[in-house]
């Protein structure tokens, strides 16, 4: 998840990133931001937050638990906005998308 500081919503995006770090992938036990599952958060539509994200596999049995977690934390953090999820498969998630912190937690380093 990349945050550009010249983006007018950079502050909200940063706040959203911190919130999304509370959502843990139950199988891997690492938060979804460090796993690289969140591709972007869009605040440009008034009253809404659109999270563009993926899952580690299209057959992820924990998929709806992760989605529910995303909606829960964003509702708590931004009570005046309605969060929704845009689940995408392009680009396909791969191990290189995991952050250094995530790799360390997964013993991948």
């Amino acid at each position: 998840m990349e945050i550009k500081l010249n983006n007018p919503y950079a502050q909200e995006e940063l706040k959203a990133q911190v919130a999304l770090m509370q959502v843990i992938d139950p199988e891997l036990n690492v938060n979804i931001v460090d796993l690289g599952l969140v591709y972007g958060v869009d605040f440009s539509t008034e009253g809404q937050i659109i999270v563009r994200m993926t899952l580690s596999t299209p057959h992820c049995p924990m998929g709806d638990a992760i989605e529910q977690g995303v909606l829960n934390v964003l509702r708590q953090t931004f009570p005046d906005r309605t969060p929704s999820i845009q689940l995408v498969w392009e680009p396909e998630w791969n191990f290189n998308m995991i952050s250094e912190a995530g790799k360390e937690q997964l013993n991948l380093l």
Binding site: A19, V23, P26, P61, G63, D64, I66, Q68, L87, V88
Partner: protein, 426 residues
């Protein structure tokens, strides 16, 4: 797009009863082993051995595989399970049928009770196959894993049907062939058709998923499926009309080569894995695969040497080595997730909640792993040297493993939601 995968997890009723009941059957299996330790190396057509084998094959192996398949097929097919009610009905029939058959074999009552129990198992297998077929059939995507599951379900129905005919044949002799020869075909349809192909299909999906590994060599899985079925069909066809012959080596070799292709796929996924360190549960799987390889190695000895202990060793490696090994590992990779999903899915992100791996005692898994290795080695050693005390000791250790495993399974099943909002837990 998000709704494609939402709510595809099956209902608890279609999964949890199978896991819980299988844990009880595992304990029963180890108790029966303990009571019959001195008979283990004798001829397999013995009431107690038949009861033990059916406890292992139906109450333990098939029971847990039904539950796992009902849990995993919707994930593989991206499709909801066709019917939870049918799944639960298959559970009731399998449980009743297994108990009936085990009791009937143990006391060797070959009358109506055995036939009715066998019929319940047959009906259960048909319901399972129908549910699997309807779930897989509703999806547009056709994957090799689905084919493994569907074909293995066919072999299950074949195995249970032949088994029922054999039970009827015990009371009303009507099969024109030798009962023991047909028994071998029944057993191998179950081992190489049902268990092997099911485990290959599910393993090809789950093992790379747990290792964070990938293999692009799907052709290996296709080849595995073809070779395993070719070998099995040829064995059954030849074995029905002719006595055991040197050709059986060739059929076993075909099945072995098929399994080798599957193993090469797994090795390729293992090589391309991100998670370098395999956890204890994955190491369970490794031991299980070693037992499977050894079982293949025993086949030539069994065919050329008529000492019954080799058949006992083969059966032990199959049921207590390969199948039990994979179940002991995979249970805690699957069961906690369905319970967690039910208890915590909607709370994710709102409070500090336990993760699926916190639903069972991880330390016990370590003990279970080492105890399992020691016990399977001791059991095989006891059989090879035909030493009653060694087998008896191993049987007692199986009871300990079953208790440890059962404790963890029931700890997960009866887990109560615990939420930590910071200072206080609810």
């Amino acid at each position: 797009m998000a709704d494609i995968f939402v709510n595809k997890a099956p209902k608890e009723l279609a999964v949890i009863p199978f896991y819980a009941t299988a844990a009880v059957f595992f304990l029963l299996l180890s108790l029966l082993l303990c009571f019959s330790a001195r008979e283990l190396t004798g001829h397999y057509f013995n009431p107690h051995i038949l009861a033990i084998v059916h406890t292992a094959a139906l109450g333990w192996g098939t029971m847990i595989i039904f539950g796992a398949a009902y849990q995993l097929l919707p994930v593989i097919c991206e499709q909801e399970l066709f019917s939870t009610r049918l799944a639960f009905l298959s559970y009731l029939l399998l449980t009743a049928g297994s108990i009936g058959l085990i009791v009937c074999f143990w006391i060797f009552d070959t009358g109506w009770a055995m036939i009715v129990s066998g019929s319940a198992v047959v009906l259960s297998s048909y319901l399972y196959a129908f549910n699997i077929y309807k779930t897989a059939n509703d999806t547009n995507r056709s994957q090799i894993h689905q084919n493994f599951l569907l074909i293995s379900a066919f072999w299950l129905c074949f195995t249970t049907t032949v088994g029922l005919l054999l039970t009827i044949n015990l009371s009303y002799n009507f099969i024109p062939r030798n009962h023991l020869d047909i028994l071998k075909l029944h057993a191998h349809a179950g081992i190489a058709g049902w268990f092997l192909q099911l485990i290959c299909g599910v393993g090809a999906k789950l093992i790379p998923m747990f290792l964070l590994g990938k293999s692009k060599r799907n052709w290996l899985l296709h080849t595995a499926l073809i070779l395993q079925n070719l070998g099995l069909i040829a064995f059954l066809a030849d074995g029905y009309f002719n006595p055991m012959h040197v050709r059986m080596y060739f059929y076993a070799l075909l099945v072995f080569l098929g399994t080798l292709c599957w193993l090469l796929y797994i090795i390729d996924a293992y090589r391309h894995r991100a998670r370098k360190k395999a956890d204890t549960l994955m190491r369970h799987t490794l031991i299980s695969l070693v037992a499977q390889g050894l079982a293949f190695g025993v086949i030539p000895i069994m065919l050329s040497n008529h000492q019954t202990k080799w058949t006992a060793l083969y059966g032990t490696l199959i049921f207590l080595g390969w199948i039990t090994g994979i179940i002991l590992g995979k249970t805690f990779k699957t069961l906690p997730f369905i319970v967690w999903n039910k208890r915590y899915k909607n709370l994710n992100g709102t409070a500090k909640i336990p993760m699926p791996k916190h639903l069972y005692n991880e330390n016990l898994i370590q003990y279970q792993y080492y105890a399992y290795i020691g016990t399977i080695v001791l059991t095989c050693l006891g059989i090879v040297v035909d030493h009653r005390l060694t087998i008896q000791t191993a049987a007692i250790l199986w009871i300990v493993i079953a208790l440890v495993y059962g404790y963890n399974v029931f700890r997960i099943v009866f887990h109560k939601t615990t939420i930590d909002y910071g200072n206080k837990a609810e």
